[in-house]
């Protein structure tokens, strides 16, 4: 495995949304357009966990959605395993696993059926799919719930099922939007342990979070995102300067944020 092989490269990503009248009313703003991501440039390397840290509305989810090709950047581009999110979105989707609370599983189906379905959607061969199902279902304790309809699963189990389905095709890059949000401590530990395991396996992980401890525990590199721009970026130790939380709020206040 090549040391420090660049596997994700975002170049000057920009995304602007038009606010509807309803949104303007809710947010009590007269602005018609909202810059969600403003010239974002960063790199992530093979076998590392890259964390995008920022408050709500900083542009984390928008960035991850652009990287996963669900939305297109207004300007700039990003390359995942060398594939452009603008020009080769389908190739990008082949090499990523994306998990966010916005992506749901149909309650009617069972984890067993959905695993097979999404495996087929990613073009995984049947034998490989069966082996991977055995491995992942056992690893996450899903096997005894494999035949239960998703709508009848507990929140924690549902999160685990969503997780294994997002990586059914053994992707090179795993993108997680707020991976531990809403999870109980046991499930959250299972998820974070698995992310570390994925890193050991040489996978690259990009996650977004607003939890300092999660970044400190998991991430090799971090980008602090404020108002759609990177306020700081680099190795965790360099950015944190001994105290990530203090550094973050110093940057936040420096950008005009108030507590």
């Amino acid at each position: 495995m090549q040391e420090h092989e660049e596997i994700v490269r975002a170049e000057n990503l920009k995304k602007t949304f038009t606010l509807s009248k309803k949104q303007q009313k809710i947010e009590r703003t007269g602005e018609r357009r909202r810059v969600a991501v403003d010239g974002l440039t960063f790199s992530a390397y093979r076998g590392e966990i890259y964390g995008l840290l920022g408050p709500n509305g900083a542009g984390k989810t928008t960035t991850l959605r652009m990287l996963s090709t669900l939305i297109r950047p207004d300007a700039g581009d990003a390359f995942l395993c060398g594939h452009s999110i603008v020009k080769e979105p389908q190739r990008v989707r082949d090499v990523i696993g994306f998990m966010t609370s916005d992506l749901k599983l149909e309650g009617f189906f069972t984890p067993d059926y959905l695993f097979d379905f999404f495996g087929a959607m990613h073009g995984v061969e049947k034998a490989a799919l069966a082996a991977r199902k055995r491995e992942l279902f056992s690893r996450f304790g899903i096997d005894q719930f494999a035949g239960v309809q998703v709508k009848n699963l507990s929140t924690g189990m549902l999160q685990k099922v969503s997780l294994v389905i997002s990586i059914v095709h053994d992707p090179e890059i795993v993108i997680f939007d707020e991976p531990t949000n809403g999870l109980d401590v046991i499930t959250a530990k299972t998820v974070t342990d698995f992310l570390e395991e994925l890193r050991r396996m040489g996978k690259s992980i990009i996650l977004s979070t607003h939890i300092f401890s999660l970044v400190e525990k998991l991430c090799d590199r971090v980008g602090i995102l404020l108002n759609g721009k990177l306020a700081a970026e680099g190795a965790l130790e360099t950015v944190a300067q001994g105290d990530l939380e203090r550094t973050f709020f110093a940057l936040y206040e420096g950008k005009g944020g108030t507590l």
Binding site: S20, Q23, R65, S68, T69, L70, I71, R72, Q90, R91, R93, D94, F98, D102, L103, K104, L105, E106, F108, F109, Y113, F117, F118, A120, M121, H122, G123
Partner: protein, 368 residues
């Protein structure tokens, strides 16, 4: 493989949910029961009737009407006259059952027509009218009705009911398509499960077709159920002898089926596009309701406006209704039916393309 997986998923969803199956097949059973009961009521065995009918002009159709009456155990006494006004008075006074006025050279002229004068308040007169209208319908003849003392729904008679059959088929087809498509497309979009599919490497065109194709097949089951319900209850409903029903040959039924099979994917793809555009099932239902009303208006045009002309083949849904009316009237408008099928399928392809584009449009898929 990805396309097949999508198709299999839709079928699995449908065939493993008994409620969906019942919803889909129920219309056909309802049609069968409804038409059978109505037919029984319309054509209840009664004492033999003796019709006294004035005839102005002549046609082979009169003979066919007399034969049909004879098969029902009734008789017709033809009273030849040139004085239509006096005959009309007798119908009004209940002294005669009806008056038939054939235009000059009726049998030879393609523009020929028949005036039927009957008394809607008189049971025997109405029964004769129903019989004559059914025979003229099956022979594909043009006729107009002049009714005295028209008193209610009875006056609508068999002619209108025959015209309404295609309308009912369209309504049931639309309902079948709505029940599965709204849930599968708008429902999945609303719940966020469609986005989970969009993040896989499947092509957008495969996802669009992977939705529309199985949904059209499932809706077809509902449509076939309605079609069979209609076809099987037709003998009772029409109150005609099986000999006369023989006029509906294999090709009549085949073309009706083909027309239904072209309307189903058209409506499914249209509802799929509307559902993909909508933010919720509720919104999609509202739009689809409007589309259904539009379809009904089109079919009502076909019911109440006679001789619409060939331009109707270019109008989706209306083209199928007009062609089905011709087929049910005993005619065999082959080219009209085939062109209608072609137009409907071409439009379906356009809607599949539009849905593909919509699946790639983040404002539509993920817009708040």
């Amino acid at each position: 493989m990805k396309f097949l997986a999508l198709i299999k998923k839709e079928f699995y969803r449908f065939f493993h949910d008994p409620r969906l199956i019942v919803t889909m097949l129920l219309p056909g059973i309802v049609i069968f029961l409804l038409y059978s009961v109505l037919g029984e009521e319309f054509n209840r065995e009664e004492e033999a009737r003796q019709y006294r009918v004035y005839l102005v002009g002549d046609s082979a159709a009169a003979e066919a009407i007399a034969d049909a009456a004879k098969e029902n155990g009734d008789g017709v006494e033809w009273l030849y006259t040139d004085d239509a006004s006096a005959a009309r008075e007798e119908v009004r006074d209940g002294k005669a059952s009806a008056l038939l006025v054939f235009s000059e050279n009726f049998d030879a002229s393609p523009a020929g027509h028949v005036d039927i004068v009957y008394d809607a308040s008189d049971e025997t007169s109405t029964a004769f009218y129903s019989l004559a209208a059914a025979v003229l319908n099956i022979y594909g003849m043009r006729f107009t009705v002049t009714a005295e003392s028209v008193t209610g729904a009875e006056a609508l008679g068999m002619q209108v009911l025959c015209n309404i059959l295609p309308l009912l088929i369209v309504v049931f087809v639309f309902s079948a398509c709505m029940s599965v498509t709204l849930e599968s497309v708008a429902g999945e979009k609303e719940r966020g499960t469609l986005a989970t599919v969009l993040v896989t490497s499947a092509k957008r065109s495969h996802i669009a077709l992977g939705k529309i194709f199985p949904l059209a097949c499932i809706s077809m089951l509902g449509a076939l159920s309605s079609f069979l319900g209609t076809a099987l209850s037709m003998p009772k409903f029409m109150g005609l002898s099986l000999n006369m029903l023989g006029t509906y040959g294999f090709w009549n039924y085949f073309l009706i089926l083909l027309l239904i099979m072209s309307v189903v994917p058209l409506i499914v793809s249209l509802i799929a596009v509307v559902s993909a555009y909508s933010k919720s099932v509720k919104e999609a239902s509202a739009y689809t309701g409007m589309l259904m009303i539009l379809s009904l208006v089109l079919t009502l045009v076909a019911v109440f406006v006679p001789a619409l002309g060939n331009w109707t083949v270019a109008i989706p849904v209306l083209n199928a209704v007009v062609a089905m009316q011709g087929l049910l009237a005993g005619a065999l408008p082959v080219w009209q039916s085939l062109v209608s099928v072609g137009v409907n399928l071409a439009l379906t392809a356009v809607f599949v393309f539009v849905m593909t584009m919509m699946l790639s449009d983040e404002r539509i898929m993920f817009g708040k």
